[in-house]
């Protein structure tokens, strides 16, 4: 016999949300263990190779030496100046690439004519190594900031455009049909429905664009050395010329860490986006 007054909470209640926040807290501290262990493993292998004498110590220094050098650099004003100039170029270059890539992506997604005209060209440019652009860029702009900016934009913008295009293309047709039945048209349809729906694809394009931008920038800074403007790339070049291997490797570590840090930002943004839409890997 079913007792009257028994409230059927399970039939109609939403998922208990408190469960999610405790798993989040626990994961917070433990999240760093796997990557930390990976780094430790790399150091151990590196130390092993050093000790084996495979290459002389002035070519392949010990990991500790490099770390010491890195800490020393962090106290030097020149290092921070180089870093800020490099980051400035990265920021401006990426910003311009986002502007160009987004504009192109929106136009191509929206216009069948443009799509057939330059759609494959965009993908072609994505596969072209940025370094191949430099001779051309240097011819046009000379050995200056503009040449570097030019190559960053050409390297990153295609990925951003493509990310936006596939984000828009992959919107389920039912979603658009629903939007239209709500009398959403034109600009309003785009702003309220198309762009939010395309956001995960767009952010994926931004993430890829960033890595291309960073790579193009490093290639550029090695090739285009401006005397008055120290940079990470220039420091790399100088370290090689003076056979300062610990310095060289310390700067490579910095380049790696910066690239990864910004990439992590995009990863987090994507994870947040997907989680809010009920997509992506479950957190548990």
């Amino acid at each position: 016999m079913i007792k009257p007054g028994a409230t059927p909470t399970s039939l109609d209640s939403p998922a208990p949300l408190d469960r999610q926040s405790t798993t989040k807290r626990r994961a917070g501290a433990r999240r760093f263990i796997p990557p930390a262990m990976a780094v430790a493993l790399v150091f151990v292998i590196w130390q092993g190779v050093y000790l084996s004498g495979w290459r002389p110590p002035y070519v392949l220094p010990a990991p500790l030496e490099v770390v010491e050098r890195l800490i020393e650099m962090l106290g030097q004003e020149k290092f921070w100046l180089s870093l800020s100039i490099t980051m400035g170029r990265a920021g401006i270059g990426f910003a311009v690439a986002v502007a160009v890539g987004t504009a192109v992506g929106l136009s191509v997604a929206h216009s069948r004519l443009l799509r057939s005209a330059i759609g494959s060209l965009i993908t072609g440019m994505q596969t072209m190594p940025s370094i191949a652009w430099f001779p051309f860029a240097i011819l046009i702009f000379g050995l200056g900031e503009q040449a570097i900016l030019f190559v960053i934009v050409l390297g990153a913008a295609p990925s951003i455009a493509n990310g936006l295009i596939s984000g828009i293309d992959e919107i389920p047709r039912n979603l658009l049909r629903n939007a239209k039945s709500m009398a959403a048209r034109g600009a309003s349809l785009y702003w309220h429905i198309v762009l939010p729906a395309a956001l995960p694809g767009y952010v994926a394009g931004l993430k890829q664009g960033w890595s291309f931008a960073w790579r193009s920038l490093m290639a550029g800074e090695l090739l285009v050395i401006i005397a008055s403007r120290p940079s990470l790339g220039a420091s790399l070049q100088y370290s090689r010329e003076f056979s300062d291997t610990p310095g060289l490797m310390a700067i490579m570590l910095v380049i790696l860490i910066v690239g990864m840090a910004v990439d992590q930002v995009f990863t987090r943004i994507t994870a947040g986006l997907l989680h809010r839409r009920g997509l992506g890997a479950a957190r548990s």
Binding site: A15, M182, A197, R277, G278
Partner: protein, 259 residues
């Protein structure tokens, strides 16, 4: 819309008390010998404030007809009119935008219907009350059950203040218990708001449960087979003898060999 005589007639009919008027509508794809005739010369009238079901098996063109009435597609021939009344549509799935909360989804519907910002929060709460889901504003679509999602979708459609509601198998993806509960809900809301509803289904029991009139469609090409008025008292129950009997009769009628 150009004012052909057919459409003029349609408008007059609708203003005279018809909720939806479909006149000599055909829909086909392709040309010449390749032509696929989805709908053939359909005439259909739904009186204002009536609940009409389009019943038929898959492929009979009932969803196509609904899309035409909704204005999401154009007929190849003929005219359709809703007399200037605002039309809301509800589908079987993908009714909610996953990047918005429940409240956000309904608020967007209000925004697109030009409801001023200060009024929106109160209206969202009000609509959630109507579909018996108070307080769920902050949840996201993936955090609620299928039945709750369809109720939110209904709230979203009602937010547009339409007097005509088109529904394309909205409860098809729900389990039997939830579907029955939804039948009660839609019947109540229909009566309260004096809506005109055109409801597409392949389930004869659902049609008998809900409709004032059932229009049975045939396949290939889609056309109207029969129309039956249902005069059982409301609120109805699916398990009454007369309902069950009529439902079985209708089911047998449409359960003819696939063509």
């Amino acid at each position: 819309m150009t004012s052909s005589p057919a459409i003029q007639q349609g408008v007059e009919n609708v203003q005279g008390g018809l909720g939806i008027s479909v006149k000599s509508v055909s829909k086909y794809y392709g040309r010449g010998s390749q032509r696929e005739q989805v709908l053939e010369n359909l005439d259909l009238d739904v009186a204002a404030e009536k609940f009409v079901c389009l019943l038929g098996r898959s492929g009979c063109g009932k969803s196509t007809l609904l899309n035409l009435v909704a204005g999401l597609d154009n007929p190849s021939q003929g005219s359709i009119s809703t007399g200037g009344r605002k039309v809301g549509v509800m589908f079987q799935e993908d009714n909610l935008f996953p990047w918005l909360t429940v409240g956000g989804n309904i608020e967007l519907a209000l925004k697109l219907s030009h409801v001023p910002r200060p009024e929106r929060a109160a209206r969202v709460a009000d609509l959630l009350e109507t579909v018996r889901l108070p307080g769920l504003e902050k949840l996201r679509p993936h955090e609620i059950s299928g039945g709750m999602r369809q109720r939110v979708a209904l709230a979203k459609t009602l937010a547009q203040e339409c007097s005509v509601l088109l529904m394309d198998e909205p409860f098809g993806a729900l389990d039997a218990f939830t579907r029955e509960a939804m039948h009660d809900e839609i019947e109540r809301i229909w009566a309260e708001r004096r809506l005109t509803i055109l409801f597409v289904t392949h389930d004869a029991r659902e049609a008998v449960r809900l409709a004032d009139r059932v229009i049975v469609m045939a396949t290939s090409p889609g056309r109207i087979d029969t129309e039956i008025d249902i005069t059982f008292d409301r609120p109805r129950r699916s398990d009454s003898a007369e309902s069950a009997g009529l439902a079985t009769e209708l089911s047998n009628h449409i359960r003819r060999p696939l063509r």
